[in-house]
Symmetry: C2
Subunit: 204 residues, 2 copies
DNA sequence: TTTATCCTGTGATAATAGTCACATAATTAA
DNA sequence: TTAATTATGTGACTATTATCACAGGATAAA
């Protein structure tokens, strides 16, 4: 028995994953998919490799096929994490991408990463061809907005411990894959504090 | 000299404001503007009147022409503010509007409010007619996402005092128009704490 | 394997923020 | 105008979190 595992087959799988993701968001014809192709490039990143660097303009959307990445600000040499992006999510700086302003944060691969990069200019070309691509874009941004709103609300409504419990309930994968110190930064608490909160919870 | 101040003139002014706002976001032809009309209704709200109620599905976008409103969660009878929306902003629950899920929060007029309501179904009809309306929608959501991201980042990067200073620098209008106790909730601190932070700052 | 690096846990202490109580000021309604 | 309501300031005290220091464990690289 021969199992095909060459690059071509891998690429096909990755592209299939993306199409499946897209179709989970909106109806998407074969024609739209063909029109979208010129905007797409498969790309791999090594662990710790930057997808986006602070000070640069973000001209890409990154569909995460495998691995995960995070966004972070560098504040006086300390990394403050603001988001984690796993499989079947889009990572980007939506503000920089949309407005052309410089990005205030970095995006870095936390594991070896397989992504499909959407080129902004080519995507906008494709967008003009069909409503489906435009609708896709709108839905992607809406999901992004919803998530941001969700996390910003977390801080207004809940204590650090409640925020942790929320993530445990709603994003268990994040807890599994992200280290305590990385998560602490995202939750806006010191790692020591998160360690103690976790201990309190396992005792109680 | 006769100054025309009847309803018709008022409506025209409000509509003109909206068109100006739209054209600040994207190019928008007279044709698109005409196509959009069926989706629009001018509406006024009294102070404390609800634009959106928790548990209802949000089927509207509210362009704020005059006055301001806020979004808040009711947690055990206590109002926790999550957003303020002033003139030339769009207030809505983007998640509920986009997904059809019930809203988890309320939106209420904090002053007598003049708004233009976008009806969802009619807006979607209009969206199919021209790319410009779809692009407008995408830009509105992007602005919304950017703002949510900005505020959620605030909590991860800054202390309560730094968050206040950020608002003072970037959204001075909010400080002017929103009372201390309302703002405290938005900043995720007790009103007493915000009062003391403010005192510390005026002394220093 | 061995070293180096990173991650986690924990004590001690300081800083920050929350809660309760109450006085006063400001605003709104009668 | 007066009364009622709402908003703010502040003291006292408690709770939570940050910071520093250091030890031990896990992981990765040589």
């Amino acid at each position: 028995m021969v199992i095909v595992t060459d690059d071509t087959a891998d690429n096909k799988q990755t592209m299939d994953n993306l199409l499946k993701y897209i179709r989970s968001l909106t109806s998407f014809s074969e024609t739209s998919w063909e029109l979208l192709q010129p905007a797409l490039t498969k790309k791999t990143f090594k662990k710790k490799e930057l997808l986006l660097e602070q000070g640069q303009v973000c001209n890409s959307l990154f569909y995460i096929d495998n691995g995960y990445c995070k966004s972070y600000y560098d504040i006086d040499g300390v990394q403050k994490n603001t988001g984690f992006f796993f499989e079947n999510e889009i990572a980007t700086n939506i503000n920089s991408f949309g407005s052309g302003q410089k990005s205030g944060f970095n995006i870095v691969a936390c594991e070896p990463l397989i992504a499909i990069v959407f080129d902004k200019d080519k995507l906008f070309q494709a967008t003009k061809q069909t409503h489906e691509i435009e609708t896709l874009g709108r839905n992607c941004i809406r999901l992004f907005a919803t998530k941001q709103e969700e996390f910003s609300t977390l801080f207004k409504l809940y204590s650090a411990q409640e925020r942790l419990e929320y993530l445990e309930a709603k994003y268990p994968e994040m807890l599994q894959r992200v280290s305590l110190s990385q998560l602490a930064s995202f939750l806006g608490v010191a790692r020591e504090t998160l360690s103690r909160i976790r201990k309190r919870r396992t005792l109680a």
